[in-house]
Point group: C2
Chain length 327, copies 2
DNA sequence: GTGAAAGCGCTAACAC
DNA sequence: GTGTTAGCGCTTTCAC
């Protein structure tokens, strides 16, 4: 067993309470005794056991971030920023990857129930609005980047509809009228919202919406490739394609560049992941302010954890279209 | 406060000891009482508080994985596999990203000292061999994918020298004699070893080694681009380039494809990350068996944690050259 | 098969 | 300014 607070107290000739006070920078201890204690701690190479502290305080200073999958690059950016922000407040982030399985997700949420973590950020979830609301009554949770209809919990998202609207409007501004979209078919609200934005942009420009111009698949690069294959096989293939993620856009770009069929369509992706700058061609994208999102969600969540009044705001962050070679 | 084991005991008309036994599937409790307890647990929606359990047992069933950075794709693969393996044993993995800073690394290692985690896997480290050895005397740690000279701890790596040797030998087999290398200059042993392999392959084929054919930079895509710029500016530019990571190889490929200068060199990367299949061109690569590495390291580490004899083996996993468009 | 009770390492109320 | 002491929620010996 390790050296405990008791041994420090004994060796330093003070009580455990005093050692604890020094440990927690309690000012009510004289400089002199504090120094003795600190020296003893040093000498004994004492490290406070957080298990004891955690049990006593019923808190762990750890926040769980549930991630859909390792390939979710935007999420990595957000998590990085969450890490940094959390560190400022003395919190740690632990990442759990659900691999898009609701079983995994529930397994991880157990960490809330059994007090292993103080709160959780869901970066994507399979829970229903009801489940989320119920969870939020007892625990500090937040949704990040993916809103869920009918929930009343702290949420940070970008306005997906607006983002898509901006992208498609840019296409239209440059004269495109046959505009394809590569979306996902799993009912994720972010995709649904982006489809809304796509439709609205067409509508506002007096272009008729044609369901055939939307391809719906999964999230992978290969899905992007399939999207291009499908769209380019239409009788009147689109001259511009909007994809709901950068990875999808890259899949589209790869196939488009190789097809040799006529002119390559213009492409805009979504998320503005770092790879956009590196891919060949570089990919235009609707940027979500990952850093700000991470900072915002963690700051608020920690406030919720510390105080007892719960902020349940839905914060919408601004987006930005970044133009690169693909458009 | 939540419902505790005490309340369950009271409600069920048994002692806390019995409830605890049921919780831990201790067979020494009669089916009948067990059922009553289970029903009560259900009824009260009782969730055991792990903080209590952890303190008592002085273990958390959590393993820390220290990651160099979010961009380390092979690491993501390994971690995924670590997750899965750990789950089988009832352990969780928490990921900490050091962003290649030794300060962060030390901060995270505190989790070992303060008992927040039962063990740690370092996927890359700035600690010295001495520090690691010392750490390993008291804590269960393991090195994964990056060995450190002079350490005596559980380690899983691929043979970097061999992997590089294989790649470069393939180039030679196809008639290349001017072979460039894009390496890193930070002294990481994996890079050093790969340079050794590169040299040995040349030597064994009777090709003279020329220091000018090695470019040393960082780990990023841009470093790969710089590597190509440098190598292609040599009086006799290489016809084949071996890069110590896939991201570097992609940077090389991007610049090479765009330069228009003569014929595009053949390229082989390292790690075989998923993006190799998706990049344009697809990238040939030396594959590290990420899944097996993750499984191996976690299985052994958990064994070490549970038993008290420490396996300190250095396990070397086999590599494989995957050929794609870039070679 | 079950219960009483000690104690894991720590913090915080209370007393002095 | 410092010490005493009562737990936080759980597991586990030791009785019975």
């Amino acid at each position: 067993m390790n050296v405990t607070i008791k041994e420090v107290a004994k060796k330093a000739g003070v009580s455990v309470a005093t050692v604890s006070r020094v440990l927690n920078n309690n000012p009510a201890v004289s400089e002199k005794t504090a120094n003795i204690v600190r020296e003893t701690i040093e000498k004994l190479d004492y490290r406070p056991n957080f298990l004891g502290r955690n049990l006593r305080k019923c808190e762990t200073n750890v926040i769980l971030a549930i991630f859909p999958s390792g390939e979710y690059s935007l999420g990595l950016e957000i998590v990085k920023s969450m890490h940094e922000t959390a560190a400022e407040y003395g919190y740690d982030i632990i990442i759990a990857t659900s691999y898009d399985s609701s079983m995994n997700e529930k397994r991880f949420l157990n960490m809330l129930f059994n007090k292993t973590v103080d709160g959780a950020v869901l970066m994507s979830t399979h829970l229903s609005a009801d489940e989320i609301n119920k969870l939020s009554e007892e625990y500090d949770i937040a949704l990040c980047s993916e809103r869920v209809d009918g929930t009343n919990v702290l949420t940070v998202t970008v306005d997906d509809k607006e983002g898509a609207y901006t992208a498609v409007s840019e296409f239209i501004k440059e004269g495109h009228t046959k505009i394809g979209m590569v979306s996902t078919g799993n009912g994720a609200l972010s995709s649904v919202d982006r489809e809304e934005g796509y439709k609205k942009a067409l509508l506002d420009a007096g272009i008729e919406f044609d369901e055939n111009y939307i391809f719906r698949g999964g999230y992978s690069f290969a899905d992007g490739e399939n999207g291009y294959r499908y769209l380019s096989s239409l009788p009147e293939p689109p001259t511009a394609i909007f994809a709901v993620s950068d990875i999808l856009a890259m899949g589209v770009a790869k196939r488009a560049n190789r097809s040799g069929k006529g002119k390559c369509p213009k492409i805009i992706g979504y998320d503005n992941i770092p790879l956009c700058d590196s891919y060949s061609p570089t990919i235009s994208s609707v940027s979500q302010p990952a850093r700000d999102m991470g900072r915002e969600i963690i700051t608020r969540l920690i406030e919720n954890i510390k105080s007892d009044k719960k902020c349940r705001e839905h914060i919408i962050m601004p987006h930005k279209l970044i133009r690169r070679e693909s458009f």
